[in-house]
Amino acid sequence: MSLTLQNVTRIVDGEYHLDDVNLMLEPGSFNVLLGRTLAGKTSLMRLMAGLDKPSEGRVLMNGVDVTGVPVQQRNISMVYQQFINYPNWTVFENIASPLRLAKVAEPEIKKRVKETAEMLHIEQFLERRPLELSGGQQQRTAMARALVKDASLILFDEPLVNLDYKLREELRQEIRELLKARNSIAVYASTEPNEALALGGKTTLLHEGKVIQHGSSSEVYRYPVNVDAAELFSEPPINLIRGFVSDTEVTFDSTVHFPLNQDIRGLKPGDYYFGMRPSHIGLVPHNDDDLEVSVRVELAEISGSETFMHVKNEHFNLVLQLSGVHEYHTDTPIKVYLPTHKLFVFGLDGQMLQAPGRLYQGGYHG
């Protein structure tokens, strides 16, 4: 089954929650909906589910217009950020509830509940009630409830944010595995770029109610169509520097010059934005023509086994993503090396012109 949104707009109290969304989700696809808080992820999911109606536009399932069809008559299931289960039913009854509503025969219910519980490793808790389980197990129960029926559309609304890091990685992998064997469309809302990459599949970037890019996750990550897309799909956010291109060289912020190299040839003289991934800036040069810049440390933020280092001088304000734990005191003068071969180039209007590995050839149209 496929799901198509055509020119879908939703306006609530004069405010655009979704603005002219066009999207086509293929049968059996896994789609990550990546966007910041309030970008419209939940609004979009509610429309897909049929919990809300669009103000304008159409929703098609398998080519059939289902715009006005309420959620009860669509075959969908949903997993939420909170662990939603019937509090006074056992795990078994919780998982069985969608099947009971569908009037499935009792032996069949038993069999399917058991299978689903086994897939999610909660078969030993079937007689317990949700509140007697850990958070991870409660969410597994909610997921089992969503997966036990053959829904044609399964929506995950940030299902893992309330779990700890380890459980998150574990369940994320399981969700992927569980959905591989199915023909249903999965939509997974997330605010974390890394989660989108880990889940693979397709990524839809949502920004201020608009879909700015849709494609395979790695493609979207490597070739963001514009500055918003690049910022959205980068954690920590991508570094942007305004620069001037002449016939022979590039000047960053009127201070640092470097000659045009084969990776950024072909740009007309003028002003551009240059983007650098935080992981591409180093404390040691990776390449002979990396650009050395003297800065001072503003903050070294340790995140797991990585360090996010914020540095600045009077012209630049940069973030570096370094592997390993680095401790630096504030105001320590250091040198960083900007990658002149791994630059994203954006026009002043924000459109992407070049990405590392993809040369400018009269403009890139994703």
Binding site: V71, S77, M78, I84, Y86, P87, S97, L101
Partner: protein, 288 residues
């Protein structure tokens, strides 16, 4: 490993000991002291053991008012709990209307007991009270001062008017704590309104309802002022509940010994019923 003993730690517990001693144990012990003595005057008192307890447990006055008391508290719970839930379910969830409802609900709770009694005493009079007059003009003979049923009805009505708000407010806060996602999930499951109430809202309200039932039970079991202001416990003894029987004995007749024994029995009943209710509920939880 050797355990380190630090006796100074006892000083840290001392404030709690003192507080509990002064707030509960010492006053209670004076009552216990009275309840085992026959006191004639300041210097003449005889130890009588469990005599007063025996006498009180066989006292028909206590039996009658205890029965009345249980019926009254039962009625209060049967009316106020469902009504409170219903009010909470019907209340608007946001905006000005919600604030207005909350204020309206809070008003009865702010009115002192004796004022509530006085309000209804006047309100219910057939000659000058709007409520009494209205009912009588409908052709129903209503007179709380003469008819025990009418007196009961009025006392119950007073209590419902005064305290249903408390249950409603508790339930309202409980309902607001249910995340929106539950209702969405229920819609996806095609659950009916009744199913939502029975399987989502009611279970989620359970903890506030336990508190609500306990508070309303304990409070209604100790009702004194309202019937006293309304009819002084009458007509006859029909609205004389436990605390009024006790007051008559202790203050009216100055039977300190029996009254003290009565107080302790009264206290133990409240404690016992509350404990039974609470443990049963918690037990049911675990058994399932």
């Amino acid at each position: 490993m050797t355990k380190v003993e630090n006796n100074k730690a006892w000083f840290l517990v001392l404030p709690v000991f003192l507080l509990v001693a002064f707030s509960a144990v010492i006053p209670l012990m004076t009552v216990v002291n009275y309840s085992v003595q026959d006191i004639f005057d300041q210097h003449t008192a005889y130890f009588v053991g469990a005599e007063w307890y025996r006498e009180m447990l066989q006292d028909p006055r206590l039996h009658d008012s205890l029965l009345r008391q249980f019926i009254f508290s039962g009625c209060v719970l049967l009316i106020e709990i469902p009504l409170g839930i219903a009010v909470a379910l019907m209340m608007p969830t946001k905006g000005r209307a919600a604030s207005l409802c909350l204020i309206l609900l809070a008003i009865p709770l702010l009115i002192p007991w004796n004022v509530v009694g006085t309000i209804w005493q006047v309100f219910g009079r057939a000659d000058i009270g709007l409520f009494g007059w209205a009912i009588n003009s409908l052709g129903i003979d209503y007179n709380y001062a003469a008819n025990p049923m009418d007196a009961w009805f009025t006392v119950l009505l007073m209590d419902v008017w005064h305290w249903t708000s408390l249950v409603a407010l508790l339930c309202y806060s409980g309902l607001r704590a249910i995340p929106e996602a539950y209702y969405q999930a229920a819609r996806i499951d095609r659950a009916s309104k009744w199913a939502i109430f029975r399987y989502i809202q009611l279970p989620k309200l359970k903890s506030v309802l336990v508190i609500g039932v306990l508070l309303r039970f304990m409070d209604s079991f100790m009702i004194y002022t309202e019937p006293f202001v309304l009819t002084g416990g009458g007509p006859g003894n029909s609205t004389t509940f436990l605390s009024q029987t006790l007051t008559k004995m202790a203050v009216g007749q100055f039977d300190l010994g029996p009254a003290a024994a009565f107080s302790l029995i009264y206290f133990l009943i409240v404690l016992l019923v509350s404990w039974l209710f609470f443990t049963t509920i918690s037990h049911l939880d675990k058994a399932k």
